[in-house]
């Protein structure tokens, strides 16, 4: 099934939870095409894409969180083994209190991907079994991948900048 047919199927099934879709670009055939959905409908749309045999998106490749200055976008990039397709489901979240339900029940790999998005961007996933920091130390302050992140001057007494390149020389 091509991307346009998939979008038409989703619009037919979910109505106005589907907000729009990317346009195909003739000069750049390799772009990633995504369909925009409302945050409340993410779990239902993903479950439909996973369970329907004609779509069968059984692999969740990654969840890319991006901080566009007025909202945070999550892109669920997924692949289908049976039909050899790649597409994305994109969600726009409010920047100050970003929150969406977890898709851990559909793909078990979402557990770690969502922990990473929580760690680096501060998005809260409702219903997640174990939401805590993954990559940064547990007592780190701030979410590094946000565009307005400021580094602390030191961490546990270690300075975070190096004034002289050659140390004591």
């Amino acid at each position: 099934m091509t991307f346009e047919e998939t979008v038409a199927r989703l619009q037919e099934k979910f109505g106005d939870a589907v907000e729009g879709a990317d346009e195909r670009d003739a000069g750049r055939p390799g772009l990633l095409l995504g369909v925009y959905v409302r945050p409340e409908a993410v779990v239902d749309v993903c479950r439909y894409l996973h369970d329907t045999p004609e779509l069968a998106f059984e692999q969740l490749s990654c969840i890319t969180g991006t901080d566009f200055q007025d909202h945070i976008q999550l892109a669920y990039v997924m692949m289908s083994y049976a039909h050899r397709e790649v597409m994305a489901v994109k969600v726009k979240l409010d920047r100050d209190e970003p929150s969406v339900h977890t898709v851990e029940g559909i793909w078990a790999t979402a557990n770690w991907h969502e922990r990473e998005v929580y760690d680096l961007l501060g998005v809260y996933f409702e219903g997640h079994s174990d939401l805590r920091r993954l990559l940064m130390p547990d007592d780190w302050v701030g979410h590094p991948l946000r565009k307005d992140y400021k580094e602390e001057p030191d961490y546990h007494g270690i300075p975070t900048t190096r004034d002289k390149a050659l140390g004591k020389y």
């Binding site: 990317d22 670009d25 000069g27 750049r28 055939p29 390799g30 772009l31 990633l32 995504g34 059984e58 692999q59 969740l60 490749s61 990654c62 890319t64 991006t66 892109a75 990039v77 692949m79 083994y81 050899r84 790649v86 994305a88 793909w107 078990a108 790999t109 557990n111 770690w112 920091r133 993954l134 990559l135 940064m136 130390p137 590094p144 991948l145």
Partner: protein, 378 residues
């Protein structure tokens, strides 16, 4: 304390053991908190992040071509794949076409890197079981490969060779003969390796029926590469979502068969890696025989400014799908680069697959998944 009380405390208490981050058996700095009853584990929880260097954030502050050396450090055992994935993603954003000679060169260095990475992978697995010599065999062969690649691009480990639009240097005269003579000595060496190690009874007893991962669990946890194929799922990005010059070559995709023991155990993943090395030799011979003349780099402007859009490009690296999700907003620096690596999802399955294993088997599980710390942490 009377005897009934002491019996109760011995059977109820579980021991919490810390393994790592500095430990001779972990593949990089990964830490495990093991809850167990003596040698048998109830659960082994991985703690990662000890090598998190913020590579994705660094990408937002530099022009597109400058990011290629950082991709080397994401997977340092097989850096050509990492370079290739990023170059592919940016080329899709630009709508650029790469010359055929450059595509063939990319395939040649990729398959050389696959052999180099699998040599360390199977050697380290044998070393973790307790056999020290196979690792040295692997290192010796890898030295010869390092020499070949050093003659091509000047570096042994972090290459910065596959750039956006093509490759950096052309093959110098005589190097294709050197690669062919290496392949001629490599095949008998692999037969000796197979006789000594792959069918060795001790290795089979340590690896067969250990850490079985069935196909549904593997797909749900997002395993890729030899880990996924070792569980019986027939999926290889070179054949199924083809890129570069792979459609022109004839090769077999190696899938686990449950050779000794059950399908999806550690021995299957080991055998898949060994067989993949032989398939890489086949691809290399075909590529060297058919390499066309032409340019090695497309006409790329000095300042790359892809129009707005998002691209996701995945290459089949030695550890599975290495994907780059690059978001551009029209300027000369990327807005967001997200790297999806096979070792990240492979580490997440360790907690699930380690129930009921012994601690020595945990080492076999980690080695059979061939995890590497910078891919997990980036």
């Amino acid at each position: 304390m009377d005897s009934t009380q002491s019996k109760q405390s011995v059977s109820d208490d579980l021991m919490i053991l810390n393994m790592g981050p500095q430990h001779p058996s972990t593949h990089g700095v990964i830490r495990f908190i093991i809850t167990g009853d003596g040698e048998v584990m109830q659960r082994a929880v991985p703690h990662v992040g000890y090598l998190h260097r913020g590579i994705e954030k660094l990408a937002e502050g530099m022009p597109y071509p400058s990011f290629v050396p950082f991709t080397d450090r994401v997977d340092y055992l097989a850096a050509m794949f990492a370079n290739h994935g990023y170059a592919l993603a940016v080329e899709r954003l630009l709508g650029l076409e790469v010359p055929r000679r450059a595509e063939y060169l990319r395939v040649i260095v990729s398959e050389l890197n696959r052999i180099a990475s699998h040599l360390i992978g199977v050697g380290a697995m044998a070393m973790d079981i307790g056999a020290f010599t196979p690792f040295l065999h692997g290192i010796r062969e890898r030295e010869k490969l390092n020499d070949i690649i050093e003659e091509l691009c000047g570096a042994r480990l972090t290459y910065n060779y596959v750039r956006v639009g093509g490759v950096a240097f052309d093959i110098p005269a005589g190097l294709d003969r050197k690669i062919l003579s290496f392949l001629d000595t490599f095949e008998p060496l692999m037969e000796e390796f197979n006789r000594l190690i792959t069918v060795n009874e001790i290795l089979v007893k340590r690896c067969a029926n250990v850490a079985i991962i069935d196909a549904e669990t593997a797909k749900s946890y997002g395993l890729v590469g030899p880990n996924l194929r070792g569980s019986g799922v027939d999926w290889d990005l070179r054949r199924d979502l083809p890129y570069s010059a792979y459609p022109e070559f004839d090769f077999k995709v190696c899938v686990g068969r449950g050779v000794r023991g059950t399908l999806g155990d550690a021995y299957d993943r080991f055998v898949v890696r060994v067989e993949e090395m032989m398939e890489s030799v086949k691809i290399l011979r075909q590529a060297l025989a058919g390499i066309p003349e032409g340019d090695i780099m497309a006409k790329v402007p000095r300042k790359l400014k892809p129009p707005k859009g998002e691209a996701y490009a995945a290459v089949e690296s030695a550890r599975g799908e290495l994907g780059y999700h690059v978001i551009s907003d029209g300027k000369d620096k990327p807005y967001r680069v997200k790297i999806r690596a096979g070792s990240f999802t492979a580490t997440s399955i360790i907690e699930h697959a380690s129930k009921g294993l012994m601690i020595a088997d945990l080492v076999v599980l980690i080695a059979s998944l061939d995890v590497i710390a910078p891919e997990i942490d980036r």
